[in-house]
Symmetry: none
Subunit: 225 residues, 4 copies
DNA sequence: TATGAATGAGCCTTCATTCAT
DNA sequence: GATGAATGAAGGCTCATTCAT
């Protein structure tokens, strides 16, 4: 269970230890990551209140006390978990939206694709679920997420939608007014999957494709894909 | 706080109790209702795991043991709560949709209005929140809700959307394929309100109006409101 | 360990229950008293920090959770314990000292006798030990004890000593200035007993007799006892 | 706070470390002393059970593991602490009492003065407090202290008091029989200060002066101060 | 020798559930 | 039926001690 030291590539330490694929003692970063990964599993499965730190420790392969070397308490661990995995996707969205020369539909397509590939089915989806479920009881999390993700995402969509509407690419300025309408089906997909996918799976890609058409106001013939 | 059994000197005790202005001993149905109402408060505020039956009992004005006379355990109380408040709205939706002569837009409008008046701001919204949050850990609830509400609602929207598309009222058959797209903004509204309304309130009605336009594929001029 | 409800051979249940020596279900007062008695044992033996509530519960014959029905937490239990056993002795001292006609020596003798019979060897001595040991970490306790016992006792001694000095019964007004000098040997007896009595027992009565002589300034011949 | 080992560029490191004004790497004795000093702080403030070795290590400027290089465990550290600071004062008392030519009152005065200057307000007072508080749970300490200090001090007082009584310097042989009576006010001063000095400070010197008069059986006129 | 991260037994406290009244 | 005191299993957190470096 506990990795043996493996003082590796030293000149001649401890025999042939180096070439072994053996477990080395994890660095603090690795341990922290292991704890967070375990915490995601346990919190996602049970919710905050019902999650047991015993389980987190066991999954992370550390002693219970070790958790407290990395996080002051259960709530801090939870909050750290929810604040640790957000940015990269948003940055890619920002990058996408920066090119004003692109047609709105292309940018929105790109964002939808990112959602399909980088969120659905990944840990980020589980984080999202946790934020939806537990956010109301963790104002700090809700505010953080609103500030770091929601408000930025909203601005991006608002800009794109407004520009697309002015250019005549979009039939309506609805999304410029309420960018939430752009994200609503994505949120719905996440919620659906968490609730019903066991017995009524959702074809997320197909639904998003329909959403795209609706959003762009295309008539059905117009859509390729 | 709670009416003592009134051990007093009533010449004709307990007979015409109803017409007495004094607090009468609650009937079982009233007690059950009080417990469920209290449970909604407590579960909605804390989630299932963190909710304390002590609080439920106190809010309901009964002793803790009394809860167990009405529900076998905490989970049963929770499940009873989530299965008790769904039907009436759905029935009204079914009624609305039954009139095939109505234009699709009118029916959808009606449904949206029902949502705005009968869900948002009511206990039903809190139930919905609970289902979203806790559903994944209560398969029974998720299945029940899917069977009783989701699948029916989906069928209704599918029918209306298909009919509207055939009649040319809708520019796209997206919603016929994925009725979730119709409900997505409503779900989003509920989630938003639970997470962000404290510091970033959402104008649900305005958003729904935008959703309506987008859905119907109207150009902006076409919408009166 | 836990008194069984005694569903026994009562022909006419519940009637003649009183005269049976059988264990009846303890009243709340009895339970509270049992908890406090157990707490005294456990705290006296281990000190506050090292005392285990498990042991208290076991000694009191109740479940661990029951403690929390009577006291909000460990500290409250401890404080309740230390504030529960003081008054009667002080009242008797006050009664003794009220009679100004008595010679000072008689009153002081009476107080010393009370100490020997009502404190030494009783639970009050253990309480005293706890106050001495733990008081510095429980300001509330120290203040309470100072207010309720120390300051009153000091006033009493001061009055008696001053009066005795004026009357020529006492050779010195030392005790009128520092009544602590009257109590010092008593405190010392308690401390000695807690530390050394195992291997060097102290004849408290004899020491107190010597203290009396010293205090009264008698030459040795004068005191028979 | 604590001297970092000073890993700097010393041309001639570690040789004439003593005469360098800079902080040198502490010797083992210094480290031991630092640990004991820190332990006194921490144990005095919290008592044995509630004291944290973390705090001791931090105050001593060493790592927690280092404590275990110097003391096998917490209890051994505590015991070492309580056995380390006693002797010098006792030796001075012994020296004082050795001169049989001195009048008893002079020797007793000397001892009282030593107490006032060498105990009250110093670390020795804190040690004394710890012995009083924790002694009952540390028989080894109590026995050590009894053997090394108490019994010796008692013998000294007994000798002086007996001699003084024979010579007619003391009106009573009370203290010859119970030397505890001599120390009682000193003990009382220590206990009082630990419990009440925050809100009811004690003038220790004045009290001891009164004690002296009482002890010597002087009438008030006789003592100047 | 010194470090401090890691361990895990132990303890206070909570709360769903029971049951005597 | 209704009560609420009592129960005791469970979980968050602490901290003395260990051990790889």
């Amino acid at each position: 269970m506990i990795p043996k030291p493996t003082t590796k590539e030293q000149a001649v330490p401890r025999k042939g230890a180096a070439e072994l694929a053996e477990r080395k003692r994890p660095t603090q970063d690795e341990r922290r990551a292991a704890i967070l990964a375990a915490a995601l599993d346990v919190f996602a499965e049970n919710g905050f209140a019902a999650a047991r730190l015993d389980d987190v420790a066991q999954k992370a392969g550390v002693a219970k006390g070790t958790l407290y070397l990395y996080f002051p308490d259960k709530q801090a661990l939870f909050e750290a978990l929810l604040q640790g995995l957000v940015s990269p996707v948003l940055q890619r969205i920002e990058a996408l939206s920066a090119d004003a020369a692109l047609p709105a539909s292309a940018i929105l397509d790109g964002i939808l694709t990112l959602f399909q590939t980088e969120i659905i089915g990944t840990n980020r989806e589980r984080i999202l679920r946790l934020i939806i479920s537990e956010g109301p009881r963790f104002p700090k999390i809700a505010e953080f997420y609103h500030r770091e993700v929601i408000s930025k995402g909203r601005e991006i969509i608002r800009t794109i939608a407004a520009r697309g509407y002015e250019r005549g690419e979009l039939r309506s300025d609805a999304m410029a007014k309420f960018p939430q309408l752009f994200f609503a089906p994505l949120l719905t997909a996440v919620v659906w999957r968490s609730l019903f996918s066991r017995f009524d799976p959702l074809d997320v890609n197909a639904m998003i494709e329909c959403h795209r058409k609706l959003m762009l106001g295309q008539k059905d013939e117009e859509s390729p894909k």
